[in-house]
């Protein structure tokens, strides 16, 4: 089976090159059959990479330890679900997964555009297949997932214990789906630059691709946060690790693009800027891969030092040169027809939010690279960690939050200061009053008060958007309130779906402000003894040790009381996986809407145990906020029945004519 996989990627490499080359020749020579052949080749690449993926999964499941990748990432005791997840756990498998996803996306793009965008598609195909060719070349010559060992080990090394968490099943594929997804708008953008078809077509075609990719990247980052929170056992969810930064940067620039592209759709402006943003988003996904694969920057996530990173750097440089070259070449054609009418307009506010989004991306990029720059400039190694990012990003992010509240208040084209003042008055007064109330309720951190006041400010504006729209429909169309709300959202899914996403973001900010009130305690207790943290009383009942299929578990049992009411039993544990020297920590969490009681078993003896206990306020709102963001994004993407009807009737009329 592994031979099938090996030959599949080998043939896929030739076919990807053929597809990319033939598509270009087909356009140049105006030969439709060559373009059709290129499309068929691309679909064949998808078939072959699917076959290679199945071959690798088969080798993993059947424990073919003679394949180096299988021996390194699985063992006989590894459960089936994590054996399947091992497909993308290592460098080689993840590259195959990336290449396969890209070929799948290419096949979908071909299918979607078989009757439209015919001028753009061959170039889109050429770009996507060229990128896939790069990945398959790496698989064939540098990191062959089917590489065989000269001997057959009795057992494999097994999957890193930290990766044996449900997060491993969802987080990496979701991130990959987002990362690879941004290749589609990138390819369309390049195709538009090459062909000079710089209108809105490529943007409209790739709108859903961009939103879906963004959704996956959002979900991937949030799932990563959840995984870090429950698995790493330090009570936090975001550590500004270089690899976290690598997935955050394309997300934030992609977010800027999603906003600014609306200006192009509505006012035919910012064409150059939108091009820059989408090219940058893709380049940042490759930059992230470079960081992860090169071992250049120390990270808890990295795949270790390898020559692969430098190949990604070369690929990044070539792509950057091509992108910038094409952009400069087409600059005169990208001039906007319309112009901004005022400093205070919806369009201008989008420019301001774009500035802040890109500013955050730059700050993260700069912080990620600064250790290398410092070493090169001063010869001194330094670290850029959470204190830096928290200090630099927080003020920019809070300004962005403020803009998020202000934007819906500003009209397109122009708003007078007087009008703006009228609209902003009520939310400002209410949020200031809210902050005062919080102060009275003993919240004494200035930063938290500002954050929560801004959260109130944005929430009120969002609420008013829904309320005013609903009331207008109720008054004018005599619809019931719920019906009016439903129709309001259904008839403008982009606008109100966007507002729902923004409300999810507000909840994220609110949850993050809770970190200012984290409480921590480390204590050693004997069996039967109790200890307190805030209003919680924890009684240590004892330890139990027992083996399972893949590990030895040592589980502590704690009965938890909240203000003298029993709320449950927590079981933090240490697990020693087979073949590992050090045990890993499995935290136990009692989760409520108000706060999480987070317990780590730090050490233990015959009759005693040491616990590290944290009370982390508002954490659950991160996951709720993430869910609301996903819901809003899905609403944004839902097809518009009215538009579809219009386009159908237009088609019918066209056919009739």
């Amino acid at each position: 089976m592994s031979e099938i996989g090996l030959y599949s990627i080998l043939i896929a490499m030739f076919l990807a090159a053929y597809s990319s080359f033939t598509a270009v020749v087909g356009i140049k020579k105006r030969r439709g059959e060559m373009i059709a052949s290129a499309e068929n080749a691309a679909v064949a690449v998808f078939g072959l990479l699917s076959l290679a993926s199945v071959a690798l999964i088969y080798a993993l499941v059947t424990r073919d330890f003679q394949i180096e990748y299988v021996a390194k990432y699985t063992s006989r005791s590894l459960s089936t679900v994590y054996t399947l997840a091992a497909f993308y756990a290592g460098q080689k498998g993840s590259l195959l997964f990336w290449g396969w996803l890209l070929s799948l996306y290419t096949a979908i793009v071909i299918f979607q555009n078989r009757r439209k965008n015919r001028k753009l598609l061959p170039w889109v195909l050429a770009v996507m297949m060229a990128i896939d060719f790069f990945f398959v070349v790496l698989m064939v010559f540098v990191t062959n997932p089917f590489e065989r060992l000269p001997y057959m080990p009795l057992d494999g090394q097994g999957l890193n214990p930290m990766l044996q968490n449900p997060g491993m099943i969802f987080h990496p594929p979701t991130l990959f789906l987002g990362y690879v997804g941004f290749t589609v708008p990138f390819a369309f953008a390049l195709a538009a630059l090459i062909t000079g078809q710089l209108g809105d077509d490529w943007i409209k075609t790739t709108r859903k691709w961009t939103i879906i990719s963004w959704l996956f990247l959002t979900a991937g980052n949030l799932l990563g946060m959840e995984w870090a929170y429950v698995e790493l056992g330090w009570g936090g969810y975001w550590a500004w690790d270089p690899v976290e930064n690598a997935s955050f940067m394309p997300w934030i620039v992609g977010t800027a693009y999603l906003h600014s592209v609306m200006i192009q759709e509505k006012r035919d402006m910012l064409k150059v800027w939108n091009m820059v943003l989408i090219l940058l988003t893709f380049l940042l996904t490759i930059f992230g891969t470079f960081i992860t694969r090169s071992g250049l920057i120390a990270s808890v996530h990295s795949f270790g030092e390898s020559s692969l990173g430098w190949m990604f750097l070369a690929f990044l440089v070539v792509t950057l040169i091509i992108s910038v070259g094409l952009l400069i070449y087409r600059l005169p054609d990208l001039r906007s027809k319309n112009q901004l009418d005022s400093l205070l307009s919806r369009e201008s506010s989008f420019l301001y939010n774009n500035l802040l989004f890109v500013g955050i991306a730059f700050a993260v990029f700069w912080g990620t690279l600064f250790p290398i720059i410092s070493e090169a400039a001063r010869g001194v190694k330094i670290t850029v960690g959470p204190p830096f990012y928290n200090a630099v990003i927080t003020p920019i992010a809070l300004t962005l939050l403020f803009l998020m509240g202000v934007c819906p208040l500003i009209a397109w084209r122009k708003t007078t200061l007087k009008n703006f003042g009228k609209k902003i008055l009520f939310p400002t007064v209410v949020s200031a009053a809210g902050a005062a109330l919080l102060y009275v309720l003993q919240i004494r951190s200035l930063l938290v008060l500002i954050t929560l006041a801004l959260c109130i400010f944005v929430s009120i504006n969002l609420f008013l958007e829904f309320f005013n729209g609903m009331r207008t429909r109720h008054t004018l169309l005599q619809e019931g309130y719920l019906r009016a709300l439903w129709n309001l959202v259904a008839r403008n899914k982009r606008r109100y779906g966007g507002h729902i996403v923004h409300f999810g973001v507000v909840l994220l900010f609110m949850a993050m402000s809770g970190t200012a009130f984290n409480t921590e305690k480390q204590i050693t207790v004997n069996k039967g003894e109790s200890f307190k943290i805030k209003q919680y009383l924890l009684k240590y009942e004892g330890l139990s040790e027992y083996p399972t299929a893949g590990k030895e578990r040592t589980v502590a049992t704690l009965t938890v009381f909240n203000d003298n009411h029993k709320v449950g039993v927590l079981s933090p544990e240490k697990a020693l996986f087979r073949g590992q020297e050090n045990p890993t920590t499995e935290v136990a969490i009692h989760m409520t809407l108000k706060e999480d009681l987070y317990v780590i078993l730090a050490g233990y003896g015959k009759d005693w145990a040491t616990f590290k206990v944290l009370v982390n306020p508002l954490v659950v709102w991160l996951w709720i906020g993430g869910g609301i963001m996903a819901l809003g994004t899905v609403i944004v993407m839902l097809p518009d029945r009215r538009k579809r009807k219009q386009s159908i009737s237009k088609d019918t009329r066209a056919e009739a004519i």
Binding site: L232, G233, W234, G235, A239, P242, A298, S299, V300, Q339, L340, D341, S342, L343, L351, Y352, L355, L356, V358, G359, F362, W366, G367, F370, P371, S374, A377, V380, K381, I382, T383, V384, G385, P386, P387, F388, A391, V392, I396, K418, G421, K422, I424, L425, T428, V429, A432, A435, A436, Y439, R444, S445, L446, I450, E520, N582, P583, T585, I600, A602
Partner: protein, 165 residues
């Protein structure tokens, strides 16, 4: 109160609340955790000492925390403890660059970039407004312009063509 006064009143209210809240920042007693939150673990995980110690049973992280706790007990100040660790383990133990010398660029550049970007946006919008105004002015005497263009445009294009040749 008339409508124009309301935004001003709101702004004044906001300032009052902000000023009231500033004294809310309070001082904390020195703890080992407070100092180790500013240190990166030396085990190579790239995490903070406080985070690494909790998650990985890291020996270097524990050693640093114990040493910090001991130094606090002997009455050393935060600055002295930090300086001791920088001297013994190098600047990379600090989780953030210092705010002096070359490291200052790490702190300043992101904000400088945003300020420059804001300046760029201002100039861009300003240019748009000026050209928009010009267009308005031009449209007032558009008839005159059309006559002018009609008369000289062909001549101009011809001359330009000759010049390029």
């Amino acid at each position: 109160m008339n409508a124009t006064c309301r935004p001003k009143s709101a702004a004044v209210l906001l300032i009052i609340f902000t000023v009231l809240f500033i004294p809310a920042i309070k001082a904390f007693a020195l703890t080992a955790g407070e100092i180790t939150k500013g240190f990166t673990c030396t085990c190579g995980c790239n995490m903070l000492v406080s985070a690494c110690e909790g998650s990985m049973e890291c020996a270097p992280a524990k050693e640093i925390t114990d040493q910090v706790a001991q130094m606090i007990e002997t009455g050393q100040s935060k600055e002295e403890i930090i300086q001791y660790f920088v001297n013994t383990k190098g600047e990379q133990i600090l989780a953030a660059p210092t705010k002096k010398g070359f490291n200052l660029t790490a702190w300043i550049l992101p904000f400088l970039a945003i300020i420059l970007g804001a300046g760029g946006i201002y100039l861009f919008i300003d240019k748009c407004l000026i050209s928009g105004k010009d267009t308005d002015d031009e449209s007032k005497d558009s008839d005159k312009k059309q006559v002018y263009e009609g008369k000289y445009l062909d001549l101009f294009k011809k001359e330009l063509k000759d010049f390029e040749l």
